[in-house]
Structure formats: C-alpha cells, structure tokens
C-alpha cells in the first residue's frame, strides 16, 4: 500500500490511535516498573495485558489472509483491513517487546519473539517495496503486461519472429496440425473490439525471400528463439541492451541490406522480451517478501499458541487475574 502525502489522510486516525496506545502502554509499563529491580516480566499484570493485546493483534493480523481469500464477502473493504494490518502490526511490536520485559526468556518465548520480529520486519520490507517498485515498473517497463501472461506472450512473440524469419529466409516451417476442440460451440466465438487483434508483421516482412540470408535462421534457432521464449535463461547474450546492440550489429554485417528492417523488427521483439524479464524481476521483488512473511506468520501463530498454552499451564509464576 503506497503511503504518500496525497493519500495520507485515511492513515492519520490509525497513526494517532496506535501512537496513543503505544504511549499509554509505555507509560503504564514504566509506572509499573518503578521500584522494581528488573523490568516487569510477561507474567506480571502489565506484561500479561500487553502480551494479551499483542497476541490478539497477531490473530487479527493473521485474519487478513482468509479475508483476502473471501473476496465476495462484504465485511469491510480489504483496503481498510490492510490499513489496520499495517498500523496494528506496528503497534504490536512495542507491546510484545514490553511483554517480554526486554528478556528473551526460555527457548519457546525466545523463538516466538524472534519470529515475531522477523514477521514485522518482513512486512515492513514488503511495505517498503510497495512504496518503491510500482513507480519503478512504470518508469522502466513501458511494455508492461500481466506477469502471468509473459510465457504466453513470449510464445506468441517467438511465433511471430519465426514467421518473419521464414519470410526472409524462404523456408516455411510446417504448420502445426489443427487441434479440434473437444466440445461443440453454439454461437459466435469471435473476439472483437478496438483494443484487440495483433497487427505485427505489417512493417518488416518482405514480400519474397531475400537471397543470401539463410544465416538468419541459424541465429534465430540458436539464440533469438531461446531468448524470446525464455528470456535471460534461454540466451544470456541478449539480456543486456548493449550486448543486444552488438549482437544485432554483428548480425547485420552477415545479412543483405534488404533484410535489415526485419532484423530491426527482431531487435524490437528482443527489447520487448528484455522489458518483460525486467518486469518479472521487479515483480519478484515486489512480491517475494510474501514468501517469507506468510510462512513466518503461520509459524508465529503456532509458536504463539504454544507459548500461550505453555505460559498458562506450566508457568511457575503466579498469573494475575487467574491465580
């Protein structure tokens, strides 16, 4: 969630509320600690209340996951939930630390607080990524598409390039056999509208094969096609624009001048593929933190449950309100 001056207003009540709660908790904690040799422990009255608060917040934070899966439920916008997730999550950190009394405690308590800090840190990292990366994508990837569609679009680009190479070199590839649908369709199956349809090939395809241009086919098979299909993983030699410039400059020296427009079209396709690689990389940074945040959150909930049970059942200290 991008937080800027322009859209800061909805966050203000949360910041004030959470800030006041944190200050109140700190004041109480300090007041309780006066006259004590050490900071109040998690089993003390203030420690227990703060721990309970932090624990409840953790459970609420965890509920964002199922909330996001129940997309048709009208129980508050996901945006509201996420705002609460961010600020309550940050509030939980001082509460939890005060609950520990600034001690790691036993192995279970230590593991719980360490995982908790890691969860908060990974979430903060994710929030930071959300501030930076969307605008980077806007700047660096003008040919941005839907990430999940990149393999499909890569295949289409490779297919178009193959047709272009065939038009230049004169060899036609065998058409793929038609696959019959395994169902019968009633009604129109056309896809229409001003924004649809592919119009590549109108610019660079020559009318008839160009003599002395067979070398293009081997270039295409060995490097261009793997790159268009798989990006950097397919042929690293085209992954950087400078490398690509050198590659196509060399290719032009082997090809007749009449084929140069086709080479320019292939270079454009490679540039587009390079942007998709960049997009996938940025997309990875934008979402990779979830691979840490989510499993750690699950682990935290397990540890937290165990910690609660352990503390209530096996604690050697008297527990306020209970004992």
């Amino acid at each position: 969630m991008l937080i800027t001056g322009e859209n800061f207003r909805p966050h203000v009540p949360w910041i004030i509320g959470c800030g006041l709660a944190a200050l109140a908790a700190a004041a109480w904690f300090l007041a309780e600690s006066i006259g004590l040799a050490a900071w109040p422990s998690g089993g003390s009255r203030v420690g227990l209340v703060l721990g309970l608060g932090a624990g409840l917040i953790c459970w609420f934070e965890f509920l964002l996951w199922p909330r996001k899966k129940m997309r048709t439920w009208r129980i508050g916008t996901v945006q509201l939930w996420l705002r609460a997730h961010i600020w309550l999550g940050l509030l939980a950190l001082p509460l939890a630390i005060m609950h520990t009394g600034f001690r790691l405690g036993g192995p279970l308590s230590a593991a719980t607080i360490i995982v908790f800090v890691l969860v908060i840190a990974s979430g903060a990292w994710g929030l930071l990524m959300q501030q930076l990366i969307p605008s980077r994508i806007l700047d660096l990837v003008p040919a941005e598409t839907i990430v999940s569609q990149i393999p499909h679009l890569s295949r289409l680009a490779a297919h178009d390039a193959a047709r272009l190479v065939s038009a230049v070199c004169g060899d036609s590839q065998d058409d793929e056999p038609d696959n019959y649908d395994n169902y019968l369709v009633i009604g129109a199956s056309r896809h229409v509208g001003a924004l649809q349809g592919r119009v590549l090939m109108t610019r660079a395809a020559p009318q008839e094969p160009i003599p002395d241009s067979l070398v293009l086919r081997s270039y295409f098979q060995n490097s261009l096609k793997p790159y268009l299909l798989s990006g950097r993983a397919g042929f690293p030699g085209l992954a950087h624009s400078r490398q690509a410039d050198e590659y196509f400059a060399e290719l032009r020296t082997h090809m007749p001048v009449a084929a140069h427009p086709a080479i320019a079209a292939l270079a454009d396709l490679c540039d587009q593929r390079r942007q998709w690689d960049r997009q996938a990389w940025l997309h990875g940074w934008l979402h990779a933190w979830l691979l840490i945040h989510l499993p750690l959150s699950v682990l935290l909930m397990i540890l937290l449950s165990a910690h609660v049970v352990w503390a209530l059942k096996y604690s050697t200290h008297p527990i306020p309100f209970i004992n």
Binding site: K68, R71, V78, I137
Partner: protein, 799 residues
C-alpha cells in the same frame, strides 16, 4: 455505385449533415429533380438519395428508382426480392413495369429519368401478364413450408398471387414440382426448407449486408441452386450466429423460427405484461409496413400493459431500455424536482481520498454550472416526450395523439427524464430498443412522428427553448410566432457520430436540439478541443448566420462556421433555413437581441479558451477513446497498484469463476483504464441485439440477460473490447462431427460483461477487494480531472 479512388472527394451538405463524397456522386445528389409519370400520376424525384451503410455508417448515394417514384405516387408495385433497406438486385422481376422500351424493366433497379412514362401492372396488360406467369411459375416450383413445429408465416408470394387474382386453390396450368430440395434442421433456432425457397436472395443480403455476418450465399446451379451456409455446410454447423435476420427477411417461410429461444424480459413486471402478437401490432398504424416475421421473432419485445389511474409507468432518474406507445387513456408527466435537489447520494458523503476527489470534481462541476447559461433562465424543461414541462408547474398530459414517449431513454439509454403516471385507465405498448430502431427505419412511422411534432409538439418545444421563451413573453404573440414557424421547421434525425456541419463550412441553417446531445468542437494546433455539449432545448449555428450583422461584423468570419458540430448519440434536430432565420430576426427584435447577446458570449468564451495555457482541456485523444462517454471506468493507479490481481480474482469469484475485467488497457499518466465495461452514456453495444438481451434495467449498469443467444453482436459493437464471449456448458451432448461414434458436450457461447456486481450487491468487487487503494470507479470527466491535476503537479515539480 462504385468508388473511384482517383476521383476528387468533396464535402456536400445533404439532409442536414455534411458528407464527403466523390465529385460525380456529389453532383448526382445535388442535381435538379426529375419529373416522371407513374400510371399517369406525375411525381418529382431527386436523381439520388443519401443512404447509410448499416455496417460502416458510411454515407453513399443511392440512385432513385422507379419503385421509389411509385411509392411517392402511392402506386403499389408488387415486390418480392426487394426491401427498402437492402441493395436492389432485381432477381424476382415481380416489380416489372413498362417504361416505353422493347423490354420490361424492374422498378426496384431502374433509375428515374426525366419524362419517363411508367405503366405498372395496374395499367399495363403486358406487365400484368408477365407478373402473372412469373407468379404461377414460382408457385409451381415451391412447396409450402413443412414441419408441424414451424410457426406459420404469411407467404408474400401467395399475397401477390391473391392481388393478381391467381387462384392458388385450383390446379395450375404448370404442374407442381415433385422435386424435394431438402430440409435443414441442424440449427437449434432456425429451420430451413429449401423446397419453399424461391431464391430471392433476401436472406443472403440480410446476412451479409444488414448484419455483416457473411455466412449465407448461393450454391449449385440450375435446378440444384440453393441458399448455402458457409461452404454449403448444414446451418447448425456453420458460423451462423442465429441472429434471425435471414428468417425475418424470408418472404415465403422457407427460413422459419423454431421458437427455441424464449426471451422473457417481462417476468415479474407489475402491472403484468402481455405479449402482443404480430397481427395485432400490424393493425396499429405505426407498425404499418414492418415485417411480420420480425414482429413474430421479437414477440416479447413489444408487450401491452394496462395501468390503473394513479399507477406509475416510469420514474424520473430510472434507467430503462424501452419506450411507450399510448393506445388508450391519458397520462400525467411531471418532475419531482424538489425531491431531486434535496436528495444527497451516498457517494457525495464519501470520505478518504476518493471522497476528496469527488469533492474536487463536484466542485469543478458546480463552477461550470455557475457560468452564465441560458439554462438558468429556462421557463420550460425539455423532457423525453412530445411535450416540454413548465418550470413553475412541471406537469403535462399525454394522450394517444402524442403516440410515443421515452424514445431518448430507449435509444440512447439516458435515465428517464420525468415521472409518468396514469391519469385514467391507460393501455400502453411498451417496446424494446430493437423494435423502436426498426420503427425509426420505417418511413410511415417516421412521417407519423414528424407529423405529431408539427401539430402538437412544436408549441411546447419552442416554449422550452429559453431563447424564444424569454424573448417573447406575451402569450398571444408567442402563439403567432409558433404558427409562423410550424411550416418552416424541418426535422433532422442523426445517428451517433454524424456531422451536422464542419468548421469552415458555409452556413445555411439554424438548429434547435430536440432529442440527444451534440458536441461542438474546434480544430486547433495540438488537436481537437470540445468547447461545448448542447442538449435538448439548446440551439446552435446562429453565429455564422448573424455574422453579417454590424454588431458581429468584426468578431467572426462572415457566413462561415467557426466550429464543428456532431451528434454524440441519437439526435433529433429542428432546422430553420437561413432565409427564414433572418426573417425571424427582423420580425422579432427581442429574439435578435437575445441571440446577439448569446453569440457574443459564445465568441468571448471561445477567445478565452484560445488564450488558455498548456493544461487546457485538450480532449482530442480522450474523446477519441470514448472516455468522456464513460459513467463507470475501472481506473487503476499504477503507482499504487502492486499487480497482485486481487481485482481480477474478485471479479472471477463474483461471476462463477469467469472474470469480466482484464487488467490491461489504455493509459493516461499513471492511470490504467482496465478493460471492463464503462457503462457508457450511450452504449454502442446495445444496438442490434437480435433478442434484446443486453439492456439497462432501472439503473446505470448494463446487463446481459440469460436469454443471450451468443451471436456476438454486442461484443462486435463495443468499440473498447470490453465484452467477451464465453462458453457455458448446456448439459447437452451430440455426435462429434470429427470423430464418428464419439459424443461431445455442447457449450453455448454467451456474452459476458461487467454489471458493476449488480448480481451481488451493486458494489463492484474489483474496487472492494483492492487492498492498495489503487482501483477506483469513476466517470470519464473525473479521470480527466485527475490526469490534469497530476500533469500540473509534475509540471510544477519540474519547474
């Protein structure tokens, strides 16, 4: 008429609009009218008329034929293969007439010539004999349509035979053919009986010219000649989309309705709606000349509803897709203006950034309305009915003489402009858009409605024009003014995109807007700039006509249009010729003064716009993409969007796993307009739905009802690619044509589009599920405001 690409293209003004044509075609259209005689009746006809290609909207000249002249002379010439809205092919020769030469001519195809003396079957024995033999031969070569399930249609060939006095119940001198040319019942919707087909090609032209489906053609030669689908495939296995146009066009019932698709748009309607059969409708003068097959095919598109006194027919502000024909009784039409002003919508109470945006945009809108405008001085309110309402007491009565109301809502999908309540017991015919569209193509219906305007509506319409109402306050004087204008006004009907005149054209008419909206724009360096939108009650075209007046002489070019005016939707204009307009100015100095003041205001506004800086409203690209027409764009702020696809997933979750939005589309600054229905003000998608399943119910969103037949017409019509065809399982199975012995499931294509989650709770799930405040629904104007603000901010940062 073929197009000669090397020929010079010239703009000409025809039937109230500017058309670019080849020079020879333009000369033909502007050539002097010719006089000819039809059965001794003298008529005067133009050499050619302007026709519109139904698919491309392109204007082209159509030579006036002897058949057109016969219609003008009110001489009935029998036709079979000819239809007014199709290209004449003259294959049946039923319209044969004598034109003085050795051979007979087909009236539908023979162009008019000066001095032509035409004799039809009524006055020429030779013609009568020729048509008689033709009829007998065709009757001998065709069987009556077969199949108990087939809906019986009126056989036009039998009608002609009856008119010619040929007895069909007695054995003919030509024996009935024994050849069975076969039946094709492979389609689930339409049955084909080749033995009943007379090869008139009406179905072929309907499919290819009218619907542009390019499925029907001819196959075989001689006795084996027949209509064929695609490459002579069975109809059910061809690319036929079952739109029904071929069946509607068939004169003999060879193509007939299997009545499989049962549209039931009126379930639960209160008061109850009863379907009206085709014969009943044809007895109504407004439906005279409409194809019976069309009415039968669209049987649920016209229903009769009876309202008791006090019952509400429609409410102001509701969206709808129907118009009403008054059969019996009186209605009250009125405005709930006070309630409207007091009401505060929920959206206006929004908080957060979206609320801020709303506030800003609303504020801007308010500032716009504060500008000096004739609306502020309006005494009458134009509404979607043949009457205008008095501002002080906005109520009027509609009677059967008014014939029709609700046209604008039906054709252009605007909200209802007034509330209508039954005053007495009222019988109404409620008609859907596809039927109204066909009615508007009918010359008879058009002339009836024009007549109603001249006789009944002109008074309240002119009173609704603030310019006239303010200038002539004396009632008797106003009545005299209306009387003087009655025969001078001409009605002009425009389709969306039609141009009334272009910047730089010579001025010839003054225009009043009766129905719909026009856009006034000027071409400037950097693109087109829209300077005004004029709606019902407004007027335009006066500046160029008044430029010769001393007061304006140094302010504008004499007699030349300073802007281009084009129709934004289905528009009805009232035009007043330049000479009549100037006479009006000299007769009514108050009107002259008011018009002068208005013209000066518009010119000042124009000059102010020209002086504006870089962030002026350069709407060229914005308008080209149709964004100003949008009521609910799904806009993603790409600076906030994390590409998590929650919006798409939420859409799919709401609609049985099929998403109705694609997170890809146009970009303005950092805003992405996702491919999702925009709820356009004038939805192009609604035009041409053969079963009327795409429509607005009583709100903003457009819905596709479940009786969609999957023809894809709406998807084709949507200029923005926001309607998708999606296969849904039918539960049926049939033999696999590619692998004998195997059965495959049958899926039915259906159109899917965003309905703003009206099926759920009306809150779009895409916006509700966006965790990052990146997805918003907004109008085109709001997006424009946001884009301009961002551009300004960036410009400020750079400087």
């Amino acid at each position: 008429m073929s197009i000669n690409l090397s020929e010079e293209i010239v703009p000409v003004v025809l039937e109230g609009q500017v058309v670019e044509l080849e020079k020879s075609a333009a000369e033909l259209l502007t050539a002097p009218r010719v006089k000819l005689k039809i059965d001794g009746i003298e008529v005067e006809m133009p050499r050619a008329t302007l026709a519109t290609d139904p698919n491309t909207g392109r204007k082209f000249p159509r030579l006036t034929t002897v058949y057109d002249a016969a219609v003008e002379a009110k001489v009935a010439v029998p036709v079979l293969c000819h239809r007014d809205h199709m290209t004449p092919v003259a294959v049946c020769r039923f319209c044969t007439v004598e034109v003085g030469g050795r051979v007979l001519a087909a009236a539908c195809h023979r162009a008019v010539e000066p001095g032509l003396d035409v004799k039809t079957h009524k006055t020429s024995a030779k013609v009568r004999k020729a048509i008689g033999v033709l009829t007998e031969l065709l009757l001998a070569d065709k069987h009556p349509p077969r199949g108990a399930h087939l809906e019986s249609e009126r056989d036009e060939l039998l009608s002609v035979a009856a008119e010619l006095g040929i007895k069909t119940d007695k054995p003919s001198r030509f024996p009935l053919t024994v050849r069975d040319r076969g039946r094709d019942e492979s389609s689930m919707v339409i049955a084909v009986d080749h033995s009943s087909c007379i090869l008139c090609d009406r179905c072929v032209r309907a499919c290819n010219e009218i619907r542009n489906n390019q499925v029907l053609g001819r196959a075989g030669k001689g006795y084996t000649a027949r209509i064929a689908f695609d490459l002579d495939n069975p109809m059910g296995e061809s690319d036929c989309v079952s739109c029904g146009e071929c069946m509607v066009s068939c004169p003999t019932g060879a193509l007939s309705n299997r009545a499989v698709v049962e549209a039931k748009p009126w379930i639960g309607a209160k008061p109850a709606a009863t379907a009206v059969n085709a014969d009943d409708l044809l007895s109504h003068p407004l439906f005279e000349g409409i194809s019976r097959a069309f009415l039968a095919w669209n049987i649920q598109s016209v229903v009769r509803r009876v309202y008791e006194p006090g019952e509400i027919v429609c409410r102001e502000g509701e969206f709808g897709s129907s118009a009403f024909i008054i059969e019996e009784g009186d209605l009250e039409i009125f405005l709930d203006a006070e309630m409207k002003h007091a009401a505060k919508s929920k959206s206006s109470q929004r908080t957060g950034i979206f609320g801020l945006v709303k506030t800003v945009v609303t504020g801007l809108a308010k500032r716009e309305t504060k500008s000096p405008d004739v609306d502020a001085r309006r005494n009458y309110i134009p509404i979607d009915a043949p009457v205008s309402l008095e501002m002080a007491r906005p109520i009027a009565t509609l009677t059967p003489a008014d014939i029709l109301f609700g046209e604008m809502t039906c054709m252009s999908s605007y909200p209802r402009s007034a509330t209508v309540r039954a005053k007495t017991r009222v019988k109404l015919l409620e008609i859907q858009r596809n039927v109204l569209y066909t009615l508007q193509r009918s010359k008879k219906a058009k002339s009836m409605l024009d007549d109603v305007y001249r006789k009944r509506s002109i008074d309240s319409h002119l009173r609704g024009v603030a310019l006239f109402a303010d200038a002539i306050t004396n009632n008797a004087e106003f009545n005299a003014f209306v009387e003087s204008m009655r025969d001078k006004v001409k009605l002009v009907r425009l389709n969306p995109g039609d141009t009334v005149f272009r910047q730089g054209d010579l001025a010839d008419n003054f225009y009043l807007v009766r129905v719909g909206f026009v856009k006034v724009s000027q071409g400037r360096p950097g693109g087109e700039i829209a300077i005004a939108y004029i709606g019902p009650g407004g007027h335009f075209g006066e500046i160029a006509l008044m430029s010769q007046l001393l007061e304006l002489a140094d302010k504008t070019l004499p007699g030349v249009r300073i802007a281009t005016v084009s129709a934004l939707d289905h528009v009805d204009l009232v035009s007043i010729a330049a000479t009549d307009f100037l006479e009006l100015l000299s007769r009514y100095p108050t009107i002259r003064a008011a018009l002068l003041k208005e013209a000066e205001r518009r010119l000042d506004q124009n000059r102010a716009l020209t002086k504006k800086g870089s962030t002026e409203i350069n709407l060229g690209e914005f308008l080209k993409q149709g964004l100003m027409d949008a009521q609910s764009l799904l806009v993603l702020d790409l600076e906030k969007c994390t590409r998590c696809d929650e919006c798409t997933k939420a859409c799919a979750d709401t609609h049985q796993g099929v998403t109705r939005l694609v997170r890809e589309g146009l970009r303005f600054e950092n805003f992405l307009v996702a491919s999702s229905c925009r709820s356009c003000l004038d939805p192009h998608c609604m035009v041409g739905c053969p079963v009327g399943s795409i429509r607005r119910r009583s709100s903003r969103e457009i819905v596709i009802e479940d009786w969609c037949i999957g023809c894809g017409k709406c998807a084709e019509n949507c200029p923005y690619g926001n309607i998708n065809m999606h296969p849904f399982p039918t539960g049926k199975k049939m033999a696999d044509p590619n692998q004998p012995g195997r059965t495959i499931p049958v899926v039915q294509q259906k159109a899917t589009m965003c309905d703003l989650c009206s099926s759920l709770d009306g809150t779009p799930s895409c916006v509700y599920a966006c965790p990052h405040d990146a997805a918003h629904r907004m109008t085109g104007g709001e997006l424009m405001t946001l884009s301009i603000r961002r551009a300004d901010r960036l410009a400020g940062t750079k400087s």
